[in-house]
């Protein structure tokens, strides 16, 4: 779980610069939520590209939930990012006025996809590439909205567990309130990741690291003293969310099929 944050910063800023350069872009764009993942990503982008080349979109639903809106604004100001604030409540409310639901998850997904839609619109307006901010913990258990917050051009944080993102945040000087607040997907008021997942990130990451990086079987992890129900649930979440980590399958019928045997590197012709 331990990382050398200075070295990770070096790798990730190089990665951001290189991805931009290869794709022929100078500017990056990202959604700034007020949470630690997007804060870390914003700082990395600012250091890699210069703050003028980083567009931060703050997209609260109305006045937002809790202190996130203020934290996001303060951070973008402090980092001197090119910042826009766009309230997503008119779009989201217009939709749910016509198609009401009381399911919070449906509303949350709609908000995540509304933000995605705006991010892609602004990335085209500003000729900028979208930086993803999903961390390894979320990606592995599928705690993200497909075509919502999971959508991006490239993702510097996807191989860092939440615990490691926090270590990097401390190193990068992410302000205290952002670092210490309870992580939340901000899909509804009072929501926190850890209450929804039913585990703290520290507990989750420890088991994920054993299952994934350590290639340990569920039985082996349980034998180390972790509760079986917890290990089994995490393993099930990983299995159930594979579809969020891959492109959808294409029915192969021809001699050469995209994704099957039409295989080029992502960096093709860059």
């Amino acid at each position: 779980m331990k990382i050398n944050p200075a070295f990770v910063e070096k790798i990730l800023t190089s990665f951001i610069r290189e991805e931009m350069g290869k794709a022929g872009f100078k500017k990056g764009i990202l959604g700034l939520s007020g949470g630690v993942d997007s804060a870390v990503c914003a700082i990395l982008a600012a250091r890699a590209l210069g703050p003028k080349n980083v567009i931060a979109l703050i997209m609260p639903y109305g006045k937002g939930f809790g202190s996130d809106l203020d934290d996001a604004r303060r951070l973008s100001k402090f980092l001197k990012l090119d910042t826009r604030t766009i309230d997503i409540s008119p779009m989201v409310d217009a939709y749910f006025k016509k198609h009401p639901t009381d399911k919070l998850v449906l509303k949350g997904n709609k908000m995540a996809r509304e933000r995605m839609s705006i991010l892609y619109d602004w990335s085209a307006r500003e000729k900028s590439l979208i930086l993803g901010t999903s961390n390894k913990s979320e990606l592995l258990i599928g705690y993200g909205t497909l075509h919502g917050d999971l959508a991006c051009a490239f993702n510097p944080l996807g191989d860092l567990y939440k615990t490691q993102v926090r270590a990097l945040a401390t190193h990068l000087g992410v302000p205290e309130p952002i670092r210490t607040k309870a992580p939340s997907a901000c899909l509804w008021p009072g929501q926190t990741d850890e209450s929804e997942i039913g585990l703290t990130y520290a507990e989750l990451d420890e088991i994920l690291e054993r299952l994934v990086d350590g290639r340990e079987s569920e039985d082996e992890v349980v034998a180390r003293g972790y509760p079986r129900s917890r290990v089994a649930r995490i393993a099930r979440l990983i299995r159930k969310s594979e579809f969020k980590r891959q492109m959808p399958p294409i029915a192969k019928i021809s001699a050469r099929t995209i994704g099957h045997d039409f295989l080029y590197p992502y960096d093709w012709n860059k």
Partner: protein, 284 residues
């Protein structure tokens, strides 16, 4: 000799459910009075396993699933495809097929030619087998190959030279090309090869493929049996699941080898001498 080909669609990565499917199918074959039941390649695990290869691997001597298969397999012979890992070689996973006679494993073949181009990536996940060996069965000497092995001439020759009169291939061959009249274009390749091998080795050629989709790739089905004269005995449906029952006469092997004396006239020592020369680059 009554042969049953189980052209099934295993559940990818779910050994428990696939075991149930095997046990049901064995019962079906028993009721149909089949002498030999053939399952496709990796029938216990599914094909496109990737990292699941390590997690679905079994030691056939000790695994619970093989215990169940051995118990169920009494009264007939069964060929099962699985991922093999033995305690002698921990961390090495073979794409294997086991031949069970009356519930006892009499032969295991480890796939030798692992396809690793285009849509295939078996070398990333499997270790390579090294041996092609004909073995005794209740119907005479036979040989077992897995999928791509079938498309390598030397695999057939080694079985032929080793005395096999029945050549069995288990397969998980996806289909490509949809311009033809029936089935995928690639099914022709397997059928033409099957007929040619039956004729050239004067052997019964049994080919059991699978059905279903995995990650979008369709398996082509079309399992078949050729007699030692190269006549098509039976063919299963293309693409869909099927259970093919067909009768062959092992005495045809003798008849074919009297008529076409390829086996009598074969000179493996000439082959060996020439291979030695080729391998050691001793040009003439």
């Amino acid at each position: 000799m009554k042969i049953a080909l189980a052209q099934i669609s295993p559940v990818l990565g779910d050994v428990a459910r696939n075991l149930d499917l095997h046990l049901e199918t064995i019962e079906k074959a028993r009721r149909a009075k089949a002498d030999l039941l053939v399952f496709p390649e990796l029938s216990l695990t599914g094909y496109r396993l990737r990292d699941l290869a390590a997690e679905t691997a079994r030691d056939p001597r000790s695994s619970r699933e093989f215990k169940a298969l051995r118990a169920a397999g009494r009264g007939l012979s069964v060929i099962v495809g699985f991922v093999e890992e033995s305690p002698e070689e921990p961390g090495l996973f073979y794409n294997s097929a086991a031949f069970l006679v009356q519930g006892e494993i009499t032969h295991i073949h480890r796939k030798i030619f692992l396809p690793n181009s285009g849509m295939f990536e078996e070398l990333r996940f499997f270790a390579r087998g090294r041996t092609v060996r004909a073995f005794e069965t209740p119907w005479g000497r036979a040989g077992l190959l897995i999928c791509r092995d079938f498309l390598h001439l030397n695999a057939h020759y080694l079985l032929f030279a080793g005395g096999a009169g029945i050549s069995i291939t288990v397969s998980a061959a996806p289909g490509r090309g949809v311009a033809g009249e029936d089935g995928f274009a690639t099914s022709r390749m397997w059928e033409v090869t099957g007929e040619a091998v039956a004729r050239l080795t004067t052997s019964v050629v049994i080919y059991c493929n699978r059905s279903g989709f995995e990650d979008g790739a369709a398996f082509a089905g079309g399992s078949f049996i050729f007699d030692p004269f190269g006549n098509l005995v039976a063919r299963a449906r293309y693409v869909e699941s099927d259970f093919l029952l067909a009768e062959i006469d092992p005495a045809d092997i003798r008849r074919a080898r009297r008529a076409m004396t390829f086996k009598r006239d074969d000179r493996p020592e000439v082959t060996l001498a020439n291979l030695e020369r080729i391998i050691h680059r001793d040009e003439d």
